[in-house]
C-alpha cells in the first residue's frame, strides 16, 4: 500500500513537472471556452478571472511603465496607488521571460571610460520576476504569460493599500480591459472593509464591504531615452540623483538630472525653432480633468494648466500644455496627467511618476480635496479683503474661490512639471498691495511668474539649456530685496487691520448672533496666524542687509508698548478677548529667530554693517527696555523677558558658550554675563517687588547654568 501511494505521489509530481515545462500550442491555449482577446500593441487574453499578456518579441528589452490608481469609489477619484513603475521584459533562461527593473544610482555616463566595465561588473542588474511562457502567438512573434497573480494579488505590480480603507481580501475582480495606442489598461473591482464614520445614538457601526474601482495601465515607453539635462545647468527642478564614477579620476561625484516631461519639436520645424519660431510639440502634455469634477471649478482648473503655456512659449513651444475632459465612467488610468476632485483628500495633493534614469516625468495625478477651501478662503479674506470687496460681500463668492483654486493649482501643476517646491514658493508669491487699481480684482493671487518662466525655459528649452550660459536666475526669496519685503508686509498688516475693522463693524457673511461671534473667533485665529507669519517673515530678513529696518519694523509692530494688535472690537468689547497671549507667542517665534546661532554667525562673519553686538543692544532696548528700573512690570513685559532669557540661555547651553573657544561663544558668554550684572543691580534696587524677584531669579539661573562665580 505504501509503495502504491508513493508511486501515485511521484506520478503526480512528474505530471505536474512535465505540464509546467511544456509550452502549449496556441490553439490548445486559446481554444478553451470563454477566452476573450484584446488586440493591441500589448495584447491581452482573458478567461474568467485569468489574465494573460502577450509580450511581442520586438518589445523584449523595451521599457514599459506600469501605473495604478483608484478610479472611483470610497469618495475617491483618480487617487494614485503605488505601482511597479518602469520595467522591461527580457528573454530569460530555459525559455522563460524575466521582468527587470534597472538600477541607476551608480553610473558611468562615459561608456568608453576603462572603468565602465568594472562598474558594470559590480552592478549586475536584477531579475525581479520570472514568468513561464505559456504559449507563443500564432505568428510566433509574441510570448504569452500569465499575469493574473502579479496584477491581482495586491503584492505584485500594484499595491491597492489605502489609508482609510482596510483591505477586504487579496483578490480583485477584473471589470474591463482596454487597449490603447501605447499599451493596455485594466479596471478591477476590489472590496474594502469600511466602517461608516457617522454614528447615530445607540446604533452600533458594523464594518462591511464596499466596492472600489481600481485602474492599472501598462504603457510602452519611447525607444529612445530622454536626453539628460543636468541639474547644475538647469536650477529650480526636482532631480534624480546618482553617483557618477566617470568624472572624478580618483573617486565618485554626486550628480543629478532634472525631472521634466518629454517635449520634442517635430524634425521639420527644428530649423525654424532655432530661428526663434515657436513649434507645437510632437506630443503635448495633456492634463485630463475627471468628468466628475464639479463644473463650476473646471474653468479655473483649465486656466491653471494653460497659464503655464506662456512659460513654455519662452522655451520655444506653443500649446505645450493642453486640457481635456475625460469621459463619464472612463478608465482614467490611461491618461498620463489627470486632475480629479477627491472628497477624501483634505487639501490639494499630487504625485508624479518619473523615469529613474532620465528623470522623464511619465505620469502625474493631482487630487483636489474639499479642505482646500477652508483655510484658504479665510486667508484670502484677511490678506485681500481690504482691496477685493467681493469676498467681503460674499464669503462664498465662487469667482474668488475659483481664483484661489486656480492659484493653488498653478503651483501644484508647476510641481508636476518638475519645478522645485521651494522655487515655486519663491516665485509664485507676489507683493502685498494696498490698492486694487494697480492690478484689478482677481489679480492679487500668485500665478506663473517671470522667474517660473525662466526656469521652464531652462529645463524645457530645445536649445541647450540657457542656464548654462548664466542667463537664468532663480530667485529663492519671496521679494527682490529685504526692504521690499518689509514694505510688502507692512501693506499686508495694514490690509489686515482694514479687514478686521470692516468685519467687526458691519459685515459677517450670512451670520448673526452667536454664530457670528463663533465665526469671528475662528477668523481671528487665522488672523493671528497670518500676523505671526508676517512678523516671522520680516524677522527672516535679518542678516540679509536690512537689519535696522527689520528691528524698526519689529519695534513698531511687535515690541512697542502701544502696538496695535489686530482684534475684533466686538469680541474684545463684549467678552474681554485678550490678545496678549497671541502677541507673546509671536514674540517667542521672533526671538527664536533673533537668537538663532545661524544669524549670529552670519553677523559675525561680516566685515561691515550691522553687528551681533548691535543686535544684542537692540534686543536690550526692545525686550528689556534698556534695563530701566521699573518695579511694576506688566505680565506681558515679565513674560516677554522670561521667554527671551529662556531662549538665550538654551542657546548658550547648547552652543557650550562657557567654552569660549569661538568668537560666537565668547559673545554669548559676555552677553549673559552682562545680563547677569544688570539683573543683579535691578534685583538689589527693587528687592520687594515682583520685578525684583524676577531679576533675582534670572540672575541666579544664569549664574548656575553658566557657572559664573
Amino acid at each position: 500500500m505504501k509503495r502504491f501511494c508513493l508511486g501515485i505521489f511521484f506520478m503526480i509530481n512528474a505530471w505536474i513537472g512535465v505540464s509546467q515545462s511544456q509550452i502549449k500550442s496556441f490553439d490548445e491555449f486559446y481554444r478553451r471556452e470563454e477566452m476573450t482577446c484584446y488586440k493591441g500593441i500589448l495584447s491581452v487574453y482573458c478567461r474568467k478571472e485569468k489574465i494573460y499578456l502577450e509580450v511581442p518579441e520586438n518589445l523584449l528589452g523595451r521599457e514599459l511603465l506600469l501605473t495604478a490608481q483608484v478610479n472611483r469609489g470610497g469618495m475617491m477619484l483618480g487617487r494614485p496607488l503605488p505601482a511597479l513603475g518602469v520595467f522591461r521584459f527580457t528573454r530569460g533562461e530555459e525559455g522563460k521571460l524575466y521582468l527587470r527593473q534597472g538600477k541607476y544610482t551608480e553610473r558611468m555616463t562615459d561608456r568608453r571610460n576603462p572603468l565602465a566595465g568594472v562598474l558594470a561588473n559590480s552592478n549586475h542588474q536584477p531579475v525581479n520576476e520570472v514568468f513561464d511562457v505559456l504559449t507563443v502567438n500564432p505568428d510566433n512573434t509574441g510570448y504569452i504569460i500569465d499575469i493574473t497573480k502579479a496584477l491581482k494579488s495586491g503584492k505584485g505590480w500594484m499595491n491597492p493599500k489605502l489609508e482609510h480603507l482596510r483591505n477586504a481580501g487579496p483578490d480583485m475582480t477584473l471589470k474591463r480591459v482596454e487597449t490603447t495606442e501605447d499599451g493596455v489598461a485594466f479596471a478591477f473591482m476590489k472590496n474594502y472593509f469600511y466602517s461608516y464614520p457617522l454614528e447615530a445614538a445607540g446604533v452600533k457601526r458594523q464594518e462591511g464591504k464596499i466596492p472600489v474601482e481600481l485602474g492599472c495601465m501598462i504603457r510602452l515607453l519611447p525607444e529612445l531615452p530622454l536626453s539628460l539635462k543636468y541639474a547644475a545647468a538647469c536650477p529650480g527642478y526636482d532631480v534624480v540623483r546618482f553617483m557618477e564614477y566617470g568624472r572624478n579620476p580618483y573617486g565618485v561625484t554626486t550628480d543629478s538630472v532634472i525631472q521634466r516631461w518629454r517635449l520634442e519639436i517635430p524634425r521639420q520645424e527644428r530649423t525654424a525653432c532655432w530661428k526663434g519660431n515657436k513649434a507645437r510639440p510632437l506630443e503635448p502634455i495633456v492634463f485630463y480633468i475627471d468628468a466628475d469634477c464639479p463644473k463650476v471649478w473646471r474653468p479655473w482648473i483649465e486656466k491653471a494648466v494653460l497659464d503655464w503655456n506662456r512659460a513654455f512659449e519662452d522655451a520655444g513651444f506653443r500649446e505645450a500644455l493642453q486640457v481635456c475632459m475625460t469621459g463619464k465612467m472612463e478608465n482614467t488610468v490611461k491618461y498620463r496627467a489627470l486632475i480629479s476632485y477627491d472628497l477624501s483628500v483634505s487639501s490639494l495633493s499630487s504625485e508624479k511618476v518619473t523615469h529613474p534614469e532620465t528623470g522623464e516625468i511619465l505620469a502625474c495625478r493631482i487630487n483636489i480635496g474639499q479642505g482646500v477651501w477652508e483655510k484658504q478662503r479665510e486667508r484670502y479674506l484677511l490678506q485681500w479683503g481690504a482691496v477685493d470687496r467681493r469676498i467681503l460681500e460674499d464669503f462664498d463668492h465662487t469667482e474668488v474661490a475659483g481664483e484661489i483654486l486656480c492659484s493653488l493649482l498653478t503651483r501644484e501643476i508647476g510641481r508636476m512639471l518638475g519645478l522645485k517646491c521651494a522655487v515655486m514658493g519663491g516665485n509664485a508669491y507676489d507683493d502685498m498691495i494696498q490698492s486694487v487699481e494697480s492690478r484689478g480684482a482677481g489679480k492679487v493671487l500668485p500665478g506663473v511668474s517671470a522667474s517660473d518662466r525662466s526656469v521652464i525655459a531652462g529645463g524645457y528649452g530645445y536649445e541647450p539649456c540657457r542656464g548654462e550660459t548664466g542667463e537664468v536666475t532663480v530667485r529663492a526669496t519671496r521679494r527682490e530685496t529685504a526692504k521690499e519685503g518689509i514694505r510688502a508686509v507692512e501693506y499686508g498688516i495694514s490690509n489686515l487691520h482694514t479687514v478686521y475693522k470692516q468685519l467687526g463693524e458691519d459685515f459677517c457673511p450670512g451670520k448673526s448672533g452667536m454664530e457670528k461671534m463663533v465665526w469671528l473667533e475662528h477668523i481671528h485665529q487665522t488672523g493671528n496666524e497670518l500676523y505671526d507669519e508676517y512678523l516671522s517673515e520680516v524677522a527672516g530678513y535679518m542678516g540679509k542687509g536690512a537689519e535696522r529696518e527689520v528691528m524698526a519694523f519689529l519695534e513698531r509692530y511687535l515690541f512697542a508698548p502701544d502696538v496695535r494688535w489686530p482684534s475684533f472690537s466686538v469680541l474684545a468689547k463684549e467678552s474681554g478677548e485678550e490678545t496678549e497671549c497671541e502677541r507673546l507667542a509671536c514674540c517667542k517665534n521672533v526671538l527664536r529667530k533673533m537668537y538663532a546661532p545661524r544669524l549670529a554667525r552670519r553677523l559675525l562673519q561680516r566685515d561691515s554693517g550691522y553687528t551681533l553686538h548691535e543686535l544684542y543692544k537692540d534686543l536690550h532696548r526692545l525686550v528689556f527696555a534698556d534695563f530701566e528700573k521699573k518695579a511694576d512690570l506688566s505680565a506681558f513685559d515679565l513674560n516677554l523677558r522670561h521667554s527671551a532669557l529662556k531662549i538665550l540661555l538654551e542657546v548658550a547651553v547648547e552652543e557650550n558658550a562657557g567654552d569660549c573657544d569661538s568668537e560666537y561663544q565668547v559673545c554669548l558668554y559676555f552677553e549673559l554675563q552682562g545680563l547677569r550684572e544688570h539683573f543683579q543691580r535691578l534685583a538689589e534696587e527693587m528687592p520687594d517687588s515682583l520685578s525684583g524677584r524676577f531679576y533675582q531669579f534670572w540672575q541666579k539661573k544664569i549664574e548656575k547654568r553658566m557657572g559664573f562665580e
Binding site: 508511486g7 501515485i8 503526480i12 512528474a14 505530471w15 472611483r72 470610497g74 469618495m75 477619484l77 469600511y194 461608516y196 457617522l198 454614528e199 447615530a200 445614538a201 445607540g202 446604533v203 452600533k204 457601526r205 458594523q206 464594518e207 462591511g208 464591504k209 464596499i210 466596492p211 466628475d292 469634477c293 464639479p294 463644473k295 463650476v296 476632485y341 477627491d342 472628497l343 474639499q370 479642505g371 477652508e374 462664498d396 465662487t398 474661490a401 448673526s512 448672533g513 452667536m514 454664530e515 461671534m517 466686538v570 469680541l571 463684549e574 467678552s575 474681554g576 505680565a635 515679565l638 513674560n639 522670561h642 521667554s643 515682583l690 524677584r693 524676577f694 531669579f697 541666579k700 548656575k704
Partner: protein
C-alpha cells in the same frame, strides 16, 4: 496510471461543474415549492418574512416589497453567563441587556441578495449636485452579507441564511459585543440555534452560544473559561417613511445624530445634527383637537415593560418613575404618552418577549454596581427612538440609602433606620430610574440644573414643594442637604423630581408642528430657545465641569453656603447612637454610611475649591447671547477660602474619628491626612491658573497664608494635623516655583510666597511656643533655594 489520474480529475471536475451548474440554475425558474420538493421535512414560519427550516438549513423568503427597505436588528441577552469573576462595575452581561442595535437593508442585485449597512447619514440622494455625485460613488452602503438566490415565486425570493445565522461575525453572533461581554473565541461545538419566532412585525432567532472569556483588564489571577449565553436577535422592519427630523440646538441637551448634507454643498458638505426622540404624533382623528390645544393620546405611546423579576415592592416605584414624565408630555398636548406596565406572564401573552426589537424594557439585575442606565436605540434616518432598555442594578439601593442618610438623615428620621422602609427606598430608586428614563427620552445630562436656587429657596418648605430644588433631574443632583430640621421641608421634597428645564426640554423636543416646514420649525425652536435661555432655569450646560455652577452632585447657586448646611446636617448625624450598634447588619449598614459621609465631605471640599480661580458661564446679550466663561467674583473666591478654612484647614475631628475607621475598617486613604493632602493638591492646582485683575495672586496667596499659617501670625502652638497641612502646602509651593508655566509670574509669586513664609517662620520662631518647627521650615526653604536655583 497517468491516464487514469487525468481521467479521474476530469470526471471529478465534470461532476463538480455539473453540480454547480445545477445550483446556479436553481434560482432561475425554480419555485420555492419545487425547491423543497425533495426535502424530507420542511418547516415554515410565516410572518414578516417566511422562514424555512429544512434538514438543518435555514432559508428566508423575501417579498419584493421588502427589497430596499431598512431593518433594525436588536440583540438582547436572555441569560447572562456565569463567571468566575464579575467586575463590580461591569455594565453588560446580565439577562435583559439590550446590546446595541444595528441596521441593514436588503438589496437585490445581479441575481443575488445583499444585506447592506446603508450610508443613511450621508444625504446625497435626489440631487444633481456634483459633490453628491462623487459621494454617491461610495455606494448605497457597505455589504454585510451576500446571499445567493435559491428559488423564487410570487411570494418572493428564497435565500439560504444558514451560514449567516451560524457566523459569529454576522449580526447574529456576539462578535460585535466582545468588549462589552468580555468574551473571545467562539465555541461552535457547544452552540446552537434554539428557537425561531416570526410574527408579522418581526422575526426573532434565539441562540445559545459558548465563548471563552477574555479578561480585558489584565489580571493573571483570572483564567479564561468557557461562558454560555442565551440571547435573541430580533429583526424588524423600519417604517418606510421616516419620522420628521428635528434639528439640534446645542442649548437644549438632546442626544443627536449627525448628517452630512451633500445636496447643496459647493465647498464642503454641511454637517447637521438632529436630535433623538420618540415619535409622538396625534392620530389622524385627533389632529384637529391637538391643534386646538386639547390633550390627546399619541398614536403610538411610549410603553415600558417592567422586568417580572423586579422585586414586587419596587415595581410600583419603577412605574411611577416612568410616568413621572407624563406631566411634561401633557404640557406638549399628549396625555398617556408614556406609561409602564408589568411584563406579561407567558401564559397571558405568549407572544411577548423582551428580545423583540421593538419592546422597551426595564430590567433588574443583581450586581454590586451602584448604578442604572437608560440608553435608547434610534432610527439613524430620523433620530426616532425605536426602543429602549433601561437597566437597574440592585447595588443602586445601597448607594441611594447611603446618600440619603448622609444628606437628608438629619431632616428625615426614617433615613436613620438601619433598614429603610420599602416606601422610602422605593422613592429613592424611583428618582434614579426617573433620571434614566430622561436619558431614554433623548435628554442628556444637564449639570447646570442643580445650581439655580438660592439657599433661602432651598430651605423654604413651600417653595420647594412648589418648585422642587433644582431645574433638572438630568443633573447628578442628589438630596436636598441644604434643608435643616427646623425648616419644615417635607421628606418628599428632599428627593429630586422632574424640573422646569426637563419639562421645557421635553416640550422643545416633542411638541408637534405639523403645520410648519422643517425650516420654519427650526426657526421657531431657535427663537423659543433664545427667549428661554435668558432664564437660568432653562439653561443647559451639559457636563461642562469647568463652570463652577455645573459641578457634579452640587446644590444651590452658592456651594459654600449649601455645603456648610450639609456639613451641619452631617455633624448632627455623627451624634447618633447607631454608630455604636453592635449587630452585624448595623455594622454593615453604618460602615457603608460612614464611608458615604467621608466621601461626601471630600466632595464638598472639592466643590468649594473649584471656586478659587474658577470660571463661570455668563451670557452676553449684546454679543448675540454668546456664552463666555468669566472669572468667579472675588467675594465668592474668598467665601470659598473661608469655607475651606473653617471646615478643612481646621480638621473636622467630629467626622474623622479614628475609632470609627477601626470599627468599620475604613480605607486609610479617606483619613484626615489624605483630606489635607487632597486639599493642598487641589489648592495648588488652582494657584497655577491665571489670576484675575479683581483678585491678584499676591492677595490670594496672602489670604491662604492667613488660613493655613494663622498660628504663626498669632504665635500659637500648631497641632499635629495643622503641621501636616502647612508642610504639604510649603512643598506644593516649591513645586510651583520649580515648574514652567504659561505665565512666568506664577513661579515668581510662589517664590515670593516662600520668602514670605520663611520670614513669617522667622518671626514665629521668636515666640515662645517652640523654635524647632519654624527653624526646620526655614532650613527647608533655604536648602531648596540653594539646591534648586
Amino acid at each position: 496510471m497517468k491516464n487514469f489520474y487525468v481521467v479521474s480529475v476530469l470526471v471529478v471536475s465534470f461532476l463538480v461543474c455539473a453540480g454547480k451548474g445545477k445550483a446556479e440554475e436553481r434560482g432561475e425558474g425554480v419555485s420555492v415549492k419545487e425547491f423543497f420538493l425533495s426535502a424530507d421535512s420542511v418547516k415554515c414560519h410565516p410572518g414578516l418574512l417566511n422562514v424555512f427550516e429544512s434538514g438543518g438549513h435555514y432559508y428566508w423568503q423575501i417579498a419584493d416589497s421588502l427589497c430596499g427597505r431598512d431593518f433594525l436588528v436588536a440583540t438582547t441577552l436572555l441569560k447572562g453567563a456565569a463567571r468566575e469573576k464579575r467586575y463590580p462595575d461591569q455594565r453588560y452581561g446580565y439577562a435583559g441587556d439590550r446590546l446595541d442595535v444595528q441596521l441593514f437593508r436588503m438589496v437585490r442585485r445581479d441575481g443575488k441578495l445583499y444585506l447592506i449597512q446603508p450610508f443613511i447619514q450621508d444625504v446625497v440622494a435626489d440631487t444633481l449636485n456634483e459633490l453628491a455625485c462623487i459621494a454617491r460613488q461610495t455606494g448605497e452602503g457597505c455589504v454585510l452579507a451576500e446571499l445567493g438566490i435559491e428559488a423564487e415565486d410570487a411570494d418572493g425570493v428564497l435565500v439560504e441564511v444558514t451560514e449567516l445565522l451560524e457566523d459569529n461575525e454576522s449580526f447574529f453572533g456576539l462578535k460585535n459585543f466582545e468588549m462589552e461581554l468580555g468574551i473571545g473565541t467562539y465555541l461552535p461545538e457547544s452552540s446552537c440555534l434554539k428557537a425561531i419566532r416570526v410574527s408579522p412585525r418581526s422575526m426573532t432567532f434565539r441562540f445559545v452560544r459558548s465563548y471563552m472569556s477574555v479578561n480585558y483588564i489584565p489580571d493573571p489571577a483570572v483564567k479564561s473559561e468557557p461562558t454560555r449565553w442565551e440571547y435573541g436577535v430580533s429583526v424588524c422592519l423600519l417604517p418606510e417613511k421616516p419620522m420628521r427630523r428635528r434639528r439640534q440646538d446645542v442649548r437644549v441637551g438632546y442626544f443627536s445624530n449627525r448628517f452630512r448634507e451633500y445636496g447643496h454643498a459647493l465647498f464642503q458638505p454641511e454637517s447637521v445634527a438632529f436630535i433623538s426622540r420618540w415619535r409622538l404624533e396625534p392620530s389622524e382623528k385627533d389632529r384637529e383637537a391637538y391643534a386646538r390645544g386639547e390633550l390627546v393620546e399619541p398614536e403610538k405611546p411610549i410603553v415600558y415593560y417592567i422586568d417580572r423579576h423586579t422585586p414586587a415592592w419596587l415595581a410600583s416605584y419603577v412605574k411611577k418613575a416612568v410616568e413621572a414624565w407624563q406631566p411634561a408630555f401633557e404640557q406638549v398636548g399628549f396625555k398617556n404618552a408614556i406609561r409602564a406596565c408589568p411584563e406579561p406572564e407567558p401564559e397571558d401573552e405568549p407572544g411577548f418577549s423582551p428580545d423583540d426589537a421593538l419592546v422597551s424594557y426595564i430590567s433588574y439585575k443583581v450586581s454590586p454596581f451602584g448604578n442604572a442606565y437608560g440608553p435608547s436605540s434610534v432610527d439613524p434616518r430620523s433620530g426616532e427612538i425605536l426602543c429602549s432598555h433601561i437597566g437597574i442594578f440592585n447595588g443602586i439601593s445601597e448607594l441611594v440609602q447611603g446618600l440619603y442618610f448622609c444628606q437628608a438623615g438629619a431632616v428625615d428620621s426614617l433615613a436613620c433606620r438601619i433598614v429603610l422602609p420599602d416606601t422610602l427606598l422605593g422613592k429613592l430608586i424611583q428618582y434614579v430610574v426617573c433620571h434614566e428614563v430622561g436619558h431614554a427620552l433623548g435628554l442628556k445630562h444637564n449639570f447646570r440644573g442643580s445650581s439655580v436656587y438660592s439657599v433661602e429657596q432651598l430651605r423654604d418648605g413651600d417653595f420647594v414643594r412648589q418648585n422642587g430644588y433644582g431645574a433638572s433631574i438630568m443633573d447628578y443632583m442628589r438630596f436636598n442637604y441644604a434643608a435643616q430640621p427646623e425648616d419644615g421641608v417635607a421628606p418628599d421634597d428632599l428627593i429630586p423630581r422632574v424640573g422646569a428645564y426637563d419639562r421645557w426640554a421635553i416640550a422643545w423636543g416633542y411638541r408637534y408642528f405639523p403645520e410648519m416646514t422643517e425650516h420654519e420649525e427650526t426657526e421657531y425652536l431657535r427663537k423659543w430657545t433664545d427667549e428661554k435661555e435668558r432664564n437660568l432655569l432653562y439653561r443647559y450646560n451639559g457636563t461642562n465641569n469647568t463652570d463652577v455652577l455645573s459641578q457634579s452632585e452640587d446644590l444651590g447657586n452658592n456651594q459654600m453656603r449649601t455645603n456648610a448646611l450639609g456639613i451641619e446636617n452631617m455633624r448632627r448625624l455623627m451624634e447618633l447612637e447607631a454608630w455604636n450598634a453592635d449587630d452585624e447588619v448595623s455594622r454593615l449598614v453604618m460602615g457603608y454610611r460612614y464611608q458615604v459621609m467621608l466621601r461626601n465631605f471630600y466632595g464638598f471640599m472639592e466643590q468649594a475649591l473649584m471656586n478659587i480661580r474658577g470660571m463661570t458661564e455668563q451670557m452676553n446679550v449684546h454679543a448675540g447671547n454668546r456664552k463666555t466663561m468669566v472669572p468667579v467674583p472675588k467675594w465668592r473666591q474668598q467665601e470659598a477660602l473661608a469655607f475651606l478654612e473653617r471646615y478643612v484647614c481646621t480638621p473636622p475631628g467630629w467626622l474623622f474619628r479614628p475609632e470609627l475607621f477601626r470599627r468599620y475598617k475604613i480605607d486609610q486613604r479617606l483619613n484626615v491626612e489624605s483630606l489635607l493632602m487632597q486639599f493642598v493638591a487641589g489648592l495648588s492646582e488652582r494657584l497655577r491658573l491665571a489670576p484675575s485683575a479683581e483678585y491678584p495672586q499676591e492677595e490670594l496667596l496672602s489670604d491662604i497664608r492667613h488660613c493655613i499659617f494663622r498660628e504663626w501670625e498669632n504665635g500659637e502652638p500648631v497641632s499635629k494635623d495643622r503641621k501636616i497641612l502647612q508642610r504639604f502646602y510649603i512643598e506644593r509651593l516649591k513645586q510651583i516655583a520649580d515648574s514652567e508655566h504659561e505665565d512666568c509670574r506664577i513661579a515668581l509669586w510662589a517664590l515670593g510666597e516662600l520668602d514670605e513664609l520663611a520670614e513669617l517662620a522667622e518671626r514665629y520662631a521668636g515666640f515662645s511656643v517652640g523654635k524647632e518647627y519654624p527653624r526646620s521650615v526655614i532650613t527647608g526653604i533655604e536648602n531648596w533655594k540653594r539646591k534648586g536655583q
